[in-house]
């Protein structure tokens, strides 16, 4: 993958559509700030830490650990057939955090905090993880 150059004042070029397409292809994409090194997955125009717009688009690790989660029992329409599942924040091995979900989790003993998980390419919406 080629990284895309950005300069002060310009947007970082990764659109929500591109981000979602990358997810469909099995890749988690986001930014690394060339100025301060901060890594972030959300669609941003400038670095929230140093406020510079010198961002590099990169691909992140597909594995990480569960920081926290809720077990969703009542879900929005897209996820209605998936309940119960864990809606989780995962810290990827190369640093950034991302919100995703893990199917087939119905009780807290199914998913200890710190559980190692892997991003899974899926036709389902959102960023799907599975336990390693």
């Amino acid at each position: 993958m080629t990284s895309q150059e950005t300069e002060d004042g310009e947007s970082g070029n990764l659109t929500i559509k591109e981000f979602q397409e990358a997810i469909r292809e099995g890749k988690i994409e986001g930014y690394k700030c060339r100025n301060c090194g901060h890594k972030q997955i959300d669609i941003i125009d400038f670095c929230p830490v140093c406020h510079k717009s010198n961002l590099e688009k990169i691909e992140f690790a597909r594995e990480g650990k569960v920081l926290t989660y809720t077990i969703q029992q009542v879900a929005p329409e897209q996820f209605m057939n998936e309940v119960p599942y864990a809606w989780t924040i995962v810290e990827l091995d190369d640093g950034p955090k991302v919100t995703g979900w893990i199917p087939f989790i119905s009780k807290s003993s199914d998913l200890p905090i710190g559980q190692r998980v892997r991003f899974k390419k899926s036709y389902l919406p959102g960023i799907v993880f599975e336990k390693i």
Binding site: D42, P48, I71, Q72, I89, K97, V98, T99
Partner: protein, 235 residues
């Protein structure tokens, strides 16, 4: 809960208190007394939050008239019930939960509260009661800690011990809050101001807080992406 040992029953106490307050608010969405068991037995929505931990969507409206001191002078004693805004703090924060270094605080609320207390030259001890954005039971506890009314992790125990009841040391949400007065999203913030107006004018009926002279409102939007804190005084 992992960090401070807060229990689901302690969360339930927030809902029970706010429903109790709303019994005496004729404009509240719910006039229904509930118990800790009612909350604990309600359907789980997203663990550990259950149906009775959540505020409802409500229909509603609220209004306030803003005017200058000069205008009030020209009113020659009319509008004598007007209250004074002594501080107005607002701050932003990240909307995405996963970007937050700490999930037990809203940085926007910490900053907005600090700004408001600085403008008013007051501190939490000077506040006679407050209306906070209790969209969920846990949000009331986080608000009280963000605003400095309790040290981190201690608002749950204080609530359990009744300190935030109408007649407690720090009355919180005498209106019933978002939880029981209701959450008509666009009207919620001004609705808090209406409660402050009634309380500071000693016209809140059975839910009146004794000797209410200084009050604070805390309103949150965008999952904590924005927070406004105001402090009001009787003139």
């Amino acid at each position: 809960m992992t960090k401070y040992g807060t229990t689901e029953e302690q969360l339930a106490n927030v809902a029970v208190k706010n429903h109790e307050n709303a019994l005496y608010n004729p404009n509240a969405h719910f006039h229904k007394k509930i118990t800790v068991d009612d909350v604990m037995n309600s359907v789980v929505v997203a663990s550990p939050l259950k149906l009775f931990d959540a505020c409802p969507f409500s229909d509603g409206a609220a209004s306030a008239v803003l005017c200058s001191e000069e205008f009030l002078r020209k009113m020659n004693g009319h509008a004598s019930e007007a209250i004074k805004i002594v501080a107005s703090g607002r701050a932003g924060g990240t909307g995405a939960l996963h970007q937050r270094p700490d999930l037990t605080t809203l940085n926007a609320a910490v900053l907005a509260g600090r700004e408001a207390f600085k403008q008013a030259n007051l501190g939490p001890k000077d506040i006679d009661f407050l209306e906070v954005h209790d969209c969920f039971t846990i949000a009331e506890l986080v608000a009280l800690e963000d605003l400095g009314f309790y040290p981190r992790g201690q608002a749950a125990k204080a609530t359990e011990e009744g300190e935030t009841k109408r007649n407690g040391e720090t009355p919180v949400n005498p209106s019933g809050g978002l939880k029981a007065k209701g959450h008509p999203v666009g009207a919620t913030g001004v609705g808090q101001v209406v409660e402050v107006y009634d309380q500071l004018n000693d016209r809140a009926g059975q839910r009146q807080v004794n000797n209410a002279r200084v009050a604070l409102t805390h309103n949150v939007g965008a999952t904590g992406g924005s927070c406004a804190v105001h402090i009001f005084e009787k003139r």
